[in-house]
């Protein structure tokens, strides 16, 4: 489409009178034995996102052993920058990322450029001309950035918690906070790792935006190399045992130079996303630390001005990770704040929540689902998250409906079990 026509399309975008099905959902189908597809159709705006997800990420021992993270994330770095220049010429946004459980290539373009975007993504996924100098430079940069973690409070606390909570040194949830080994592998080996990664069964091609299923099906043709039904050995993450609460150190101080505050994380292992008690957890967590007038915020910020921020953090998924009640304060005020932090947890555990708090939490959990339904990309992402974690489609939203059906007693019984202070241990960052 010529630019003037596109500009006219944009002028019509303002949205008044535009029609969209607010309940737009994912249409999914099987392409072959190892590949599926998903589409969220939305014709409000002339843009399309293509997101291809391969089912192996940083948690996979095979990925770590073969430097597949670097192989995947640097595959558009050819020595002449030809692939990136093509993306620029196309005005497309192409990103490559490997997270804990998946490797993803995502491209977004104006609808008229879909064919060119698909051709570019295909060439990225088959590029074997890695820029070895750029790889060495990136390794050096990563090493320097690693030094910056010495003074990064959040990183140091995460590292400490992971070492205390996961028993095995090679547990992937622990390794993600350790310095990655430098990449000594050459371009050929990296290309081989990438080639293997993109052929692993279980991959999915997601489309979101201004296209139909017929267009999506056409787009799939020849986009990916054939699946190799023999998945590489060691692909599946191996999660080791957790260190029991009684065995964990009760208090772990981390010393960081020049700190003028003390940072607290009172933590335990998180509740897996597929645990049947998850709906009760959603309500309890919201009341304890999930909003600006939560129990933690009121006690530590609004009533006493001890801190700027207080709340809960959850970092696990279907595998338990870290769950913590966290805050910080000026160094001389550490004792007062720690007492209050522990006090909030003690009272929460002993007394549970009130009916008024339950209703407000359900109002939030129900209403806030709209935040994830503003764009077709968000709806697709939600589908892919559930798929990646092996959850039934719609499980995340359904948990909110289940939460709304729980009685106050059911929620408080969960609190009595999960928020037992004996299960929590303290990590604190203090001045060196």
């Amino acid at each position: 489409m010529a630019l003037p026509a596109l500009l006219l399309s944009a002028a019509a975008l303002a949205g008044v009178g535009a029609t969209v099905d607010p309940a737009a959902e994912v249409v999914a189908w099987t392409v072959d034995a190892g590949t599926s597809a998903a589409l969220v159709e939305d014709h409000r705006a002339p843009t399309i996102t293509v997101r291809i997800e391969f089912p192996a990420g940083k948690y996979s021992p095979w990925v770590r052993a073969h430097h597949a993270v670097e192989a995947f994330e640097h595959q558009d770095d050819d020595p002449a920058r030809a692939l990136k220049k093509r993306a620029d010429a196309l005005a497309a946004e192409v990103s490559l990322e490997v997270d804990d459980r998946a490797a993803t290539i995502e491209g977004t373009c104006l609808s008229a450029d879909l064919d060119a975007l698909l051709a570019l993504m295909k060439d990225v996924l088959t590029n074997r001309d890695y820029d070895e100098k750029e790889l060495r430079r990136a390794g050096r940069e990563q090493s320097i950035e690693w030094k910056g973690n010495d003074t990064n409070v959040s990183f140091r606390m995460h590292q400490s918690v992971a070492r205390a909570m996961f028993r095995d040194a090679d547990d992937p949830r622990r390794l993600r906070w350790e310095k990655p080994p430098s990449v000594e592998t050459g371009a050929a080996a990296l290309a081989e790792a990438r080639d293997a990664l993109v052929r692993i069964p279980g991959r999915v091609v997601g489309f979101a935006g201004d296209l139909t299923r017929a267009q999506a099906e056409r787009a799939m043709v020849g986009l990916l190399p054939p699946v190799d039904p023999r998945a590489p050995e060691g692909l599946t993450p191996r999660f080791g045992p957790l260190v029991g609460a009684a065995e964990r150190p009760k208090d772990t101080p981390i010393r960081i130079r020049k700190l003028t505050q003390v940072y607290f994380a009172l933590g335990r292992d998180s509740l897996p996303w597929d645990d049947p008690r998850r709906p009760a957890y959603l309500v309890a967590n919201h009341v304890l630390g999930g909003h600006f007038y939560s129990r933690l915020y009121v006690a530590l910020r609004h009533e006493g001005g001890e801190t700027y921020g207080a709340g809960t953090r959850e970092e696990g998924d279907v595998a338990p990770g870290l769950y913590a009640a966290a805050t910080f304060t000026r160094a001389p005020n550490a004792k007062t704040t720690e007492t209050k932090l522990r006090g909030v947890l003690d009272v929460f555990h002993a007394q549970g929540i009130t009916e008024e708090e339950r209703k407000a939490a359900i109002g939030y959990l129900t209403g806030s689902r709209a935040f994830g339904r503003q764009s077709p990309e968000q709806i697709l992402e939600r589908y892919l998250v559930e798929r990646r974690l092996g959850l039934p489609p719609g499980k995340i939203d359904a948990d909110v409906d289940r939460a709304a059906a729980l009685s106050l007693d059911e929620i408080n019984r969960f609190i009595d079990d999960f928020y037992d202070p004996a299960q929590f241990t303290m990590v604190r960052a203090v001045a060196e």
Partner: protein, 447 residues
């Protein structure tokens, strides 16, 4: 192309069908953009005062006042606003920058009325008490410790901002300093409120699935009753033309690299060539291949990392060319390499008809995606009104960018980069590991 640009400059900026853009008799500006395809409604109350409008007596108050605004008003107790929005499934927040203070909320449609009533009440009926001020002073001080005092990179930026901008109103961190916070009195806070928190200093933006006429009637019933008054903010001088120091040296507890920076100031957001500057910034900073990085890192291998960054403020901004090297290279050499890079870029190989068309398409893509989100749309409307004087520009950006020619972009480069006053900054780390200090110079031999 020049004719087209002139015509566009004088053209009306039509809003989408059904949208309303109006100034009430008390001076309050209101823009309502209905879009029934969105699931959430965004409201934004733009107060046209930021840290750059503070004087020596009110330093730090724009940000501190943002906190005080959540303290309760005549009709609503402290915490009521947040509890109301959260229980509806929404989100509310606020931010203070150099140029403005903005109160934002996103809620399901049936909660909009409650938000508007609460926003209107706190615009004039806020209770500024000693107890609330004392508590917020403690909270803001903890925020400053978190964001600045305990973050080496933030410490560096605040130091650089102060040293570079000197007496310019943008010299101060929008969050204020601990000393500013401690100095604030209830009387000072009330005076600030009376001066700036007035309908004639504010812009209400509502975007999302609303009935525009009913929404306007609600704003008139609530905000429309508030009397105008106060005293507007003093104007902030543009950054372009400001007498910056030519050179600055800084040291901070950053990772073991030395960073060289060469910056040039840009004109205000409402300058006649602002659209050309926007396209220029897209070509230099918004693409996969950074032209400065290609020269410094890829071709010449003179740094571990390099690139171009942009800074945007209402009364100007900047383009910053930077490189990061292990601490063995001499300061003069690193800065010379950046000057040579700018000379190389002056050949304008990065600017062609094709690259210009691609940059415009990229800006169009960004805008298209932005318009799906009520909050992003409301932010764009508020920003265009305050920064460029016309909320309608949020809907004609694509056409204005489309009218920018290759010659316009080249002229913007020549004026602001090639011929602009350059500011040079060199940053050294406080701690350098022994191995790097001794053997870092070997790095280029093996890279």
């Amino acid at each position: 192309m020049l004719v087209a640009s002139i015509l566009l400059a004088f053209a009306a900026t039509p809003l989408p069908t059904g949208a309303i853009d109006r100034t009430l008799p008390n001076g309050l500006e209101v823009t309502i953009v209905p879009d029934r395809s969105m699931p959430l409604v965004a409201t934004q109350i733009w107060i046209h005062v930021g840290s750059a409008n503070e004087d020596a007596d009110s330093r730090g108050l724009a940000h501190l006042f943002e906190h005080l605004m959540f303290g309760g008003s005549a009709a609503y107790a402290k915490g009521d606003y947040s509890k109301f929005v959260t229980a509806a499934g929404g989100d509310e927040n606020a931010f203070t920058s150099e140029d403005e203070t903005v109160y934002v909320s996103e809620v399901p449609p049936d909660a909009v009325e409650g938000v508007i009533r609460r926003e209107a009440d706190r615009l004039r009926n806020l209770i500024v008490s000693q107890a609330n001020l004392d508590n917020e002073k403690k909270i803001v001080t903890e925020e400053l410790r978190l964001r600045t005092e305990n973050d080496p990179m933030a410490r560096l930026l605040v130091k650089a901002q102060k040293a570079l901008l000197g007496r310019h109103p943008y010299a101060f961190d929008p969050s204020g300093s601990k000393e500013d916070v401690q100095r604030t009195t209830v009387e000072g806070a009330r005076a600030f409120y009376d001066r700036y928190y007035r309908p004639n200093e504010a812009h209400v933006v509502i975007a999302g699935p609303v009935d525009p006429d009913a929404s306007l009637a609600l704003v008139e019933e609530t905000f429309g009753r508030i009397e105008s008054g106060g005293q507007g903010a003093s104007d902030v001088p543009p950054l372009y033309g400001w007498p910056f120091p030519g050179k600055l040296a800084l040291k901070e507890d950053i990772p073991p690299v030395e960073v060289a920076l060469v910056g040039v100031p840009l004109p205000p957001a409402d300058a006649p060539d602002a659209w050309a500057v926007e396209v220029l910034l897209k070509l230099l900073t918004g693409r996969e291949v950074d032209p400065a990085r290609e020269i410094v890192v890829t071709k010449r291998r003179k740094a571990i990392e390099a690139g171009i960054e942009a800074i945007s403020l209402r009364r100007g901004g900047g383009i910053v060319f930077y490189s990061a090297s292990l601490p063995y290279r001499r300061e003069a050499t690193a800065l010379r390499i950046l000057d040579e890079t700018i000379r190389e870029l002056d050949k304008k190989e990065w600017l062609s008809d094709a690259s210009l068309a691609a940059a415009k398409r990229s800006l169009l893509l960004e805008e298209t995606r932005e318009h799906r989100f009520a909050e992003a749309l409301a932010d764009r409307v508020g920003r265009e009104r305050w920064w460029r004087g016309d909320a309608g520009l949020a809907f004609t950006r694509a056409a204005r960018i489309g009218a920018v020619s290759r010659e316009d972009v080249a002229a913007a480069w020549d004026r602001y980069v090639r011929d602009g006053a350059r500011i040079r900054v060199y940053v050294k780390p406080e701690h350098v590991p022994f191995a790097i200090r001794m053997f870092g110079w070997l790095y280029p031999l093996f890279s």
